[in-house]
């Protein structure tokens, strides 16, 4: 009977107060400024991107920037899902369904990225297969934001011929 009564009750839904929506929106805007800010600050702390460098991969600061950006984006996504999409006060089953799909997304990312993220652990030359090409083209690539044209790197001319790229 309880089940039946529950089904027959009037369709009353939780109405979120206006101030909650406005506060969540304010939080989302602040977090957007935060993610832009961390990118500008961490970007200014390190030399400009150097595609013709030694091919050493992301610097520590760039990895930190990626981690911060993803953390901030996930907090923003959580705010949108819990408040704008009514997961906090709505049916718990919808939340369970979402978490279930995110579980499979994690498997998807995890199993796929095992390969590219562990390249070069046994054979360092595999880590950055483009590095010799990058050195060569570095002389010709001009960074769009930089005022001075990039100086040709002496290392580019010292490359053994067998590493010359076929572009």
């Amino acid at each position: 009977m309880r089940y039946r009564e529950n089904l027959m009750k009037a369709a009353t839904h939780h109405v979120t107060p206006l101030w909650v929506y406005l506060a969540v929106f304010g939080g989302l805007c602040l977090l957007t400024l935060a993610t832009v800010g961390q990118s500008l600050v961490l970007g200014a702390l390190q030399p400009a991107p150097d595609p013709w460098g030694d091919g050493g991969g992301h610097s520590f600061l760039t990895n930190l920037s990626i981690a911060l950006a993803l953390a901030i984006a996930t907090v923003k996504a959580g705010l949108v899902a819990l408040f704008f999409m009514h997961l906090l006060h709505g049916e718990r089953f919808n939340l369970a369904a979402l978490l279930g799909s995110l579980f499979f997304v994690v498997i998807f990312f995890g199993l796929t990225l095992i390969d590219p993220l562990t390249r070069g652990q046994f054979n360092p030359e595999e880590a950055h297969p483009l590095a010799p090409q990058m050195n060569r083209i570095g002389a010709r690539f001009q960074h769009p934001a930089s005022e001075d044209p990039a100086e040709p790197e002496p290392a580019a001319t010292e490359l053994p011929p067998e590493t010359a790229p076929v572009l």
């Binding site: 929106f25 091919g55 920037s65 984006a73 998807f108 796929t112 590219p116």
Partner: protein
């Protein structure tokens, strides 16, 4: 089983489909169905994000250099536009719950207008790139002072293919969302929605927030690489 004769603003409430026990059950079923659809959307975009992650892990320097061609100011502007449209959409659902018809129509129209602003900004970004020959895949032939170096950057083509496919698929979702919001707007002007019956507004709202969610991840991952 007789249902009380509910009215919304003097108009008869929409009929309860015979296979549902109550308006609440009908509402919850529709919302759950929308969520299941959104989960498939999440998995669709996950595939693209995984592709992004694989290429970035293999060619980090290329992503850093190529993304300098994207203007983060435009991306930030569009982020604020989409966040505001998400707010107006959430408030529209609230107005529908409370049976405020004029407010609902106004908020839906605002959401529609903000979606239009988003697409206009996107148009300027796309044309800026296409004029410099920065196009996806086969059509990638950068030229001009700003972009010439890209032609020699291996895998820059891949970065911009990923950029165009992800933002274009997102843009298509914006267009579909605009069509759905336009349909809601027409129904809102007929005063179709009220506290008992507003699940169409709720479901379109959920879709619109998902479009916002995808952009929340796209913006830092494409524009803020440093």
């Amino acid at each position: 089983m007789s249902q009380p004769l509910a009215t919304i603003s003097g108009r008869p409430a929409p009929p309860l489909a015979h296979h549902f026990e109550s308006m609440k059950q009908q509402h919850d079923s529709a919302v759950l169905g929308m969520w299941v659809f959104l989960l498939t959307e999440i998995l669709l975009f996950s595939g693209l994000f995984v592709g992004y992650a694989v290429y970035r892990a293999l060619h980090p320097e290329v992503f850093q250099a190529a993304s300098q061609l994207l203007d983060w100011r435009m991306g930030m502007l569009n982020t604020f536009v989409l966040l505001t449209s998400s707010l107006t959409m959430a408030l529209a659902v609230r107005a529908a719950q409370l049976g405020r018809h004029r407010q609902l129509a106004l908020l839906l129209a605002s959401t529609l207008a903000l979606a239009g602003v988003f697409l206009v900004v996107k148009y300027f970004e796309y044309s800026h790139k296409l004029h410099r020959g920065i196009a996806p895949g086969f059509w990638f032939s950068p030229h001009g002072a700003e972009a010439a170096g890209l032609a020699d950057l291996p895998y820059a083509r891949n970065f911009f293919s990923i950029y165009f496919v992800m933002t274009a698929l997102h843009g298509i979702h914006v267009l579909i969302g605009m069509a759905a919001i336009g349909w809601l707007l027409a129904r809102a002007r007929r005063q179709d929605f009220g506290g008992e019956y507003y699940y169409p507004v709720e479901c379109v709202g959920l879709y619109w927030h998902l479009v916002d969610l995808v952009w929340i991840y796209l913006f830092p991952l494409l524009y803020l690489i440093d």
